[in-house]
């Protein structure tokens, strides 16, 4: 892109000229608008273009199941550790699943060290909602002995590089890591849980949801898979979670209003993207 005005212009120009980068820094919204008016986004993508996505399974050998997901520059590592614990009193036949995300200062200069930020807690809670309602994993298969012992799966997600659309990446990492989990067969014998050496038992999925996010700019332009720069400018975002049957599982819509046509458009695009995500994860499974 270079300079906004011609550099070879010999005459001194009375108006102030900027490098494109300076323009981006001082007027980010106007900068994005200039691109969007030309039907393109600052990183060269069209509105409905998703960034390159890769998935890597079983990358952490100390975890019972793990995955690394990259969407563009956004990188997420998810590791799942299984422990045996007593089931909750009101669900004696079920094990449980605890997702947790850590947005440490390593991933972006925006995050400060210290207790989990509001954003991290919101993402953790949304992931929890997505897993619980509608049910994703048959939690009864995690039960070892009713009311006595059950598997607890701690799904710890570490954000390594933050470049927008973190929720989609987290869901992909979480679901693919859960699919990667292999547990030993465990039996309960007079107060003790005995487990086999070999890990054979995989989790049973009721449905496989993935989330797809869109950012809305100026109330009319829908940008799929926003990056960090776009996310920091836009005032409205739509996240849709759908399962393999194309059924809606969850919708999160924040910020300014959108029309029902826009929502319908997002859902149809999300269904297209879902197919791509499954093929990416299938490929990763074959590679391991």
């Amino acid at each position: 892109m270079g300079k906004v005005t011609n550099e070879n212009n010999v005459k001194p120009n009375p108006t102030i000229t900027f490098e494109a980068e300076t323009f981006r820094r001082i007027q980010p919204e106007e900068y994005l608008r200039k691109f969007v008016q030309q039907h393109v986004r600052p990183d060269g993508r069209s509105y409905n273009h998703f960034r390159k996505t890769t998935v890597n399974l079983s990358c952490i050998t100390t975890a019972d199941g793990s995955s690394m997901v990259r969407i563009g520059n956004t990188t997420i590592v998810c590791g799942i550790k299984a422990e045996v614990s007593e089931p909750k009193l009101n669900f004696p036949k079920e094990g449980y699943l605890v997702p947790n995300i850590d947005l440490s200062p390593i991933c972006s200069p925006r995050f400060k060290p210290g207790p989990p930020s509001e954003q991290a807690q919101i993402i953790s809670e949304n992931l929890n909602k997505l897993l619980k309602n509608p049910k994703v994993i048959d939690l009864e298969t995690l039960c070892i002995e009713e009311g006595k012992a059950a598997w607890v799966l701690f799904a710890d997600i570490v954000c390594v590089n933050y470049d927008g659309n973190i929720f989609d990446a987290c869901v992909m990492a979480l679901i693919s890591a859960l699919a990667d989990v292999k547990l030993p067969k465990a039996v309960y014998e007079d107060g003790l849980v005995k487990a086999t050496e070999e890990k054979i038992f995989a989790l049973s999925f009721i449905r496989i949801p993935y989330s797809i996010s869109f950012a809305m700019f100026d109330g009319k332009h829908l940008l799929a898979d926003p990056n960090e720069m776009e996310e920091s400018i836009i005032k409205s975002a739509i996240t849709i979670a759908i399962d393999e049957a194309g059924q809606l599982c969850n919708i999160w819509k924040v910020g300014t209003s959108c029309t029902s046509e826009q929502l319908r458009f997002c859902i149809s695009k999300a269904r297209e993207r879902y197919v791509d995500i499954t093929s990416i994860i299938e490929k990763a499974k074959q590679a391991t």
């Binding site: 952490i60 050998t61 100390t62 975890a63 793990s66 520059n73 990188t75 590592v77 590791g79 799942i80 550790k81 422990e83 947790n100 850590d102 440490s104 200062p105 390593i106 991933c107 972006s108 200069p109 400060k112 060290p113 210290g114 701690f154 710890d156 570490v158 390594v160 590089n161 933050y162 470049d163 960090e228």
Partner: protein, 243 residues
């Protein structure tokens, strides 16, 4: 003896290495797009990611030093990094001690006087753990600082060595570390051979000290060669991109 045999009859260790052999090191600088400098390093099964931000404005006024830059080191362990899941808080004393050792190492190496009243943040994330925390943290931080273009006197390379059954052993893994093996971690400046950090845990006979120390020093030099190759390769790629 109920103790696990750490060196087998053929002189091989439990992970198949010989006594004077390092674990395989795999490293890559510039892995993160958001940080000013970053590096990923894998030493055997220990995996560490480092990000460097700065020199930038200090976060709080209390951290401002009027004549030099303040260095801030934070280490976090991923909850899934060990065989047992332990939620370690950032204020865990053991981690704080390691962070402080890393900080003190780099305070003398980085030319902090060039950046008065500013702060350099070094964040280290351990993704998988198999022994040698200090050494991997120092090596990762060195690589990330070089990637960030922060002026330093020299590389800092760290390596550990121990003594099992009266035999000096290089680069201990977690199994060896946790069997009460005396472990010596050395960080040195490879050009001058000066030692910046020396830490020893558990008891070691004074007669053995020299040989263990020498072994660790040789390990540091080997690590230096690996890091230096990677840095040069990286710079070469950068120059080619510029053309």
């Amino acid at each position: 003896m109920s103790r696990l045999e750490l060196i087998g009859p053929q002189g091989l260790r439990n992970d198949g290495r010989r006594v004077q052999e390092l674990r395989k090191i795999n490293c890559k600088p510039s892995v993160l797009s958001q940080a000013d400098g970053s590096a990923y390093i894998e030493q055997g099964n220990t995996k560490c990611l480092a990000a460097v931000y700065g020199p930038r404005e200090a976060r709080t006024k209390a951290q401002v030093l009027h004549n030099r830059a303040n260095i801030n080191v934070e280490i976090s362990l991923a909850p899934f990094c060990m065989s047992e899941r332990k939620k370690r808080s950032k204020s865990d004393k053991r981690i704080l001690e390691i962070a402080s050792a890393v900080k003190q190492t780099f305070e003398t190496i980085i030319k902090t006087e060039l950046f008065a009243r500013s702060q350099i943040d070094i964040y280290l994330q351990i993704l998988q753990f198999d022994g040698g925390t200090i050494q991997i943290c120092i090596n990762a931080a060195t690589l990330a600082l070089i990637d960030a273009g922060i002026p330093m006197v020299d590389y800092v390379c760290a390596c550990s060595a121990g003594c099992i059954d009266d035999e000096p052993v290089l680069d201990l893994n977690y199994v060896e570390e946790s069997h009460d093996t005396p472990e010596l971690t050395v960080a040195l400046l490879p050009k001058t051979g000066k030692i910046t950090l020396l830490q020893m845990e558990s008891r070691l006979h004074v007669d053995k000290f020299q040989s263990v120390m020498e072994m660790a020093t040789v390990g540091c030099k080997k690590i230096y060669n690996i890091l230096d190759d990677v840095v040069r390769e990286n710079v070469k790629n950068l120059l080619e991109k510029k053309k």
